[in-house]
Structure formats: structure tokens, C-alpha cells
Symmetry: C2
Subunit: 136 residues, 2 copies
């Protein structure tokens, strides 16, 4: 990485200047706070593959509550990452699919997920070290 010369070192001028990191005026925070929930990446990871229906997602992520699944899907839809289509069957079924914006976000996001998969052992090791030291 290049040497940092100014505060907002790695983001362009639209980015988040460290000296003005208040919630309101930071675009990065505005975007990140939505996708950094406990469930968001999980849902995005699923829908990046193919569209799913509500119940399918629920079964895919067994330990999410219906309440949080609903809310997470709403939030992701509101920010434009996923689409919600209702089919007027009886009972009506609902299909969630990833938008172009969602796929575009998922590209860099996938890199992080891959990093997580590749470096899980290092993190576990660090955790074990921490817990066995007197820091714990």
C-alpha cells in the first residue's frame, strides 16, 4: 500500500475523511453500517448464487429468526441490493433476487469472505493465544 499522506488516505475525496467521521457526513459509514449486520452478508452470499424464497432462506440460515430475516431482507431491498417479487399464488410466494448493484457490491465482499475462509485458522490461533494469556 502506498504511504499515507492525508487522512482519507485510501478513499477518494467522496470518501470518509478521518477528521470528519461523524455518522451523518460519512458515505462509507452510511453504506457499511447496513451491510455489516450479523445476517446481511449471509443473505447476500446466498442470493449471490441464485434467487431464493423466504422459506428457503430461512432453512438455509437455520438460526435466524423470521423477524430478523424479514428485517434484513427489507433493509437490503431498501438499499437496492436485492429485489422482492411476489407471485400471486395461493398462498402467495415471494422470491428474493440480487440486483446488479448487489452483484457489484458482492464482488469485493466476496474477497473478504474468501479471506475469512483462508485465514480462519490464524484467527482461531490468535484467539487461543489471547485467552491463554493473562489478558483474558
Amino acid at each position: 500500500m502506498a504511504v499515507a499522506t492525508k487522512r482519507s488516505f485510501m478513499l477518494d475525496e467522496q470518501g470518509c475523511d478521518v477528521s470528519e467521521w461523524d455518522a451523518g457526513n460519512c458515505p462509507v459509514r452510511d453504506v457499511i453500517e447496513r451491510i455489516s449486520g450479523k445476517w446481511s452478508t449471509l443473505i447476500l452470499e446466498a442470493l449471490a448464487e441464485k434467487p431464493y424464497r423466504f422459506g428457503e432462506l430461512r432453512r438455509l440460515v437455520p438460526d435466524i429468526s423470521q423477524r430478523m430475516l424479514t428485517q434484513t431482507l427489507r433493509d437490503l431491498q431498501r438499499d437496492g441490493y436485492i429485489d422482492r417479487k411476489v407471485f400471486p399464488t395461493k398462498p402467495p410466494s415471494v422470491e428474493y433476487s440480487m440486483t446488479a448493484l448487489g452483484h457489484s457490491l458482492f464482488e469485493p465482499l466476496l474477497k473478504v469472505l474468501q479471506w475469512a475462509a483462508a485465514n480462519h485458522h490464524s484467527v482461531k490461533a490468535a484467539r487461543a493465544r489471547y485467552d491463554e494469556s493473562d489478558m483474558a
Copy 2:
């Protein structure tokens, strides 16, 4: 992206098989849940630039509470992303710095932050569309 043929389509076999997404056995979730907090990326972004002391970080992220700053720093330290060094001055000062593992994580993470900076307008637009439609 290549066509997905199996469930854990984009992660290697150490990754997170969608059919076994329970919290316990998914390495990706284990790693992601830590760095996906409201404050984690903010702190990582700061420390990626250079080491900072507790009070400096607090001033950098004005709306974090001391309580959450302490906790976030502890979590990041436990997972091996940052180092905590105490200087026995009076009063003692504490410096937080990013480890090699932290920098390695920050590389893909930066891509996401850059995406956020670049696409903030699209997200805002999507939000406005959603809020003005009858979905809200």
C-alpha cells in the same frame, strides 16, 4: 463470476457450505461476525493508516462511547488484528497498532470500503426510491 455448481460455490472446502450454515461450524461466520460490528471497520480503517492511542481513536470516531471503543479494541486484539502496547508513563498511555494479520485482512476489506465510497450515490438513490414507493 463462474457458474455455481455446488452450494459452497465461491469458497473452498474450508469455506462455508450453505447447507451447514449453523453458527458453530462455519469458519466464515466465525470470522465475519467479529469484523462486521458497527465500529470494527472504522477502527481498522484508522489503524491501517498508523498506530493510534485510545484517546486519539476516541476523537477520531467522535460518536463511539468509551465502553464500545474498549470492547471493540479488545475483540480486534483477541482475533489478532491489532496489538496493544502499554507505555509506563504517568499517566500510562496505550498504543494500538495493526498486526500483519490485520493488514492482510484490510487488503480485501479496503476494496469494500472503496466500493462504498464509489457507490454511495446509488445506494442513496435506491433508498429514496424505496421510501417514496408504497413499500415504505
